[in-house]
Amino acid sequence: MNENRFQKRTLFLILYIVFALLPIYWMVNMSFKTNEEILSSFSFFPQHFTWDNYKTIFTDPAWYDGYINSLIIVAINMAISITVALPAAYAFSRYSFIGDKHLFFWLLTNRMTPPAVFLLPFFQLYSTLGLMDTHLAVALAHLVFNVPLAVWILEGFMSGIPREIDETAYIDGYSFPRFFLTIFLPLIKAGVGVTAFFCFMFSWVELLLARTLTSVDAKPIVATMTRTVSASGMDWATLAAAGVLTIVPGAIVIWFVRHYIAKGFAMGRV
């Protein structure tokens, strides 16, 4: 009976994995076909295997600039999110102060606010500040949901470190910055990694704000893709190749944090 049960579970898992991978595979499959082949025949493997679609993307600045812009935006956002979230998370995990609980709740509500709500004011605000169509504009806009998330995850990891370590360090004579950088940070390495992963994830995948706040110079790949669709008709092959390339960074990042990811999710305490 045990054996049987085990097989049922495995079967379910395999079915799910097929469900999860098939749509992605289909896009990968298409990215190696020509548009003619896509529209004329129907096959599980490319009949006329071609790298052309990828060549298009890597040679046309209209395409590859999108990736560079996306990476810059995500990097800026990650850096700011983690830098400001670290001290705040430390404060929440170590001290109680007036209004701490309300503040924490208020931060979380921002994670829960629909970006669509901020669309108008962001547009106005960044126009006024002359930030429109810059990397910084999108990175800042993404702080709305990434900073609360970063504080939340980091606070969880920090609460797992006994406070006595802090005190021992002060007794030993460490100053706060030195203690924080040389002793505390190495202890929550995993937490910082997981936080970076989540910041990456949410900033990388967001479209609405990114598209609204950019036009040319800072246009991220997600926006490039949606516009290309409407502009050049249906260039399915190139679109598929572009889609595949957006998955690659995510897949790489997730491989690095695979050991911590379960733990990172477990930190989701309220």
């Binding site: 006595e164 021992t168 007794i171 030993d172 002793i183 202890l187």
Partner: protein, 361 residues
């Protein structure tokens, strides 16, 4: 270092954690803070260390008021009951860290000699997480000792260790402290540990400092019932009694002939409490002994001693017998006690009579 606490009290919110107390631990010797959990030992230590500021009162070091001085500017060392080390540093770096911060010389050499003294020199290149609990606590101790701080605070440092390891490490600690280079404050919940450490003892209970003095003296002449309760393991047998002509009458038990001090007011002698240490109850009757018959509830064997729980007409009592003894549950047994070896407390719980100390000239 000379440490002096004067009129210290601590409240957190509306809750008092420490009531007004003054204490001057003996300089460059060991002082044990003895009390159950929540007695206020840790709160008091944190004030001594400068981790917390008392609500009222002053902390003086060598005569200077240091009450508000933050911990970083004081020269103290502290060891916690959890094994606190820097997990991201190797053992050697852990021990060296306070030395490096002060930019001292011959760090490697000093780390090595300390590690040798605490028998962890073979683990210097490992990380704390790779060590057993006992070894981790040795690292924490080595780091605390490395500072050579004149004030050393240990908050139940052995409580999370296996009992044999505790025995070993405790002995090594007494040897380290015997050098008398710093004032040592050692918190523990175990009366036995306080006795093994010797030195002086301050008994605490529910945020109050009850008694301070040389350990053996506090043990043998507890000022009050509360001190006696806190400083006895197994718990002192306490039996209600009444004063009578030539001694005391145990409630529903035998009478003991004890001479009570004359100058005690009547109302205090009405409801007395007689305290008998478990070790004063024995199987063989001696001269002048009083018999206490009962039924065995359980015999606990610790190896060196057997603790017999006995249900008697005067209530439940525990006797400590040397060596291994077997008693079936429910058998009848008569224990004997010498009236000269009991304590008597008055109605307010203050000591009236203490047994004479034996084995002394």
């Amino acid at each position: 270092m000379e440490l002096e606490l004067e009129g210290i009290s601590k409240r957190v919110g509306a809750q008092p954690w420490l009531y007004d107390m003054s204490l001057a631990p003996k300089t460059n010797a060991v002082t044990v803070l003895l009390g159950a959990t929540q007695a206020g030992k840790t709160s008091l230590m944190r004030i001594m260390a400068g981790l917390d500021i008392p609500t009222r009162g002053t902390v003086r070091v060598n005569g200077q008021d240091v009450t508000g001085v933050p911990v970083r500017e004081r020269n103290v060392a502290m060891v916690y009951q959890q094994f606190i080390n820097y997990p991201s540093m190797r053992v050697a770096d852990n021990i060296a860290s306070p030395l490096r911060l002060r930019g001292e010389k011959n760090i490697d050499e000093r780390v090595r000699s300390l590690a040798q003294r605490l028998h962890i020199d073979m683990f210097l290149d490992r990380y704390p997480a790779e060590l057993s609990g006992g070894q981790q606590q040795r690292v924490a101790l080595a780091r605390a000792l490395a500072k050579g701080a004149p004030l050393m605070l240990l908050d139940e440092p052995l409580v999370n260790l296996d009992y044999k390891l505790r025995e070993e490490l405790r002995e090594e600690l007494t040897q380290l402290f015997a050098a008398g280079e710093s004032t040592v404050i050692y918190a523990t919940t175990e009366p036995g540990e306080a006795l093994l450490l010797g030195g002086h003892t301050a008994v605490m209970d529910a945020g109050e400092l009850l008694q301070y003095g040389p350990t053996a003296e506090v043990f043998h002449s507890p000022k009050s019932l509360r001190v006696a309760r806190a400083f006895s393991d197994p718990p002192m047998n306490l039996i209600g009694a009444e004063a009578m002509n030539l001694g005391v009458q145990l409630n529903s038990g035998p009478a003991l002939s004890i001479s009570l001090p004359g100058l005690v007011s009547k109302h205090l002698t009405k409801a007395l409490t007689v305290g008998v240490r478990a070790s004063e109850l024995r199987l063989q009757a001696g001269e002048g002994d009083v018999a206490l018959p009962g039924v065995v509830e359980l015999a606990e064997i610790s190896g060196s001693d057997t603790f017999v729980h006995l249900s008697t007409s005067a209530g439940e009592v525990v006797a400590q017998l040397t060596g291994v003894h077997y008693f079936e549950l429910g058998t009848s047994l008569t224990l004997h006690l010498n009236p000269a070896h009991v304590y008597v407390f008055d109605a307010e719980g203050m000591l009236l009579v203490a047994p004479q100390r034996r084995g002394r000239n």
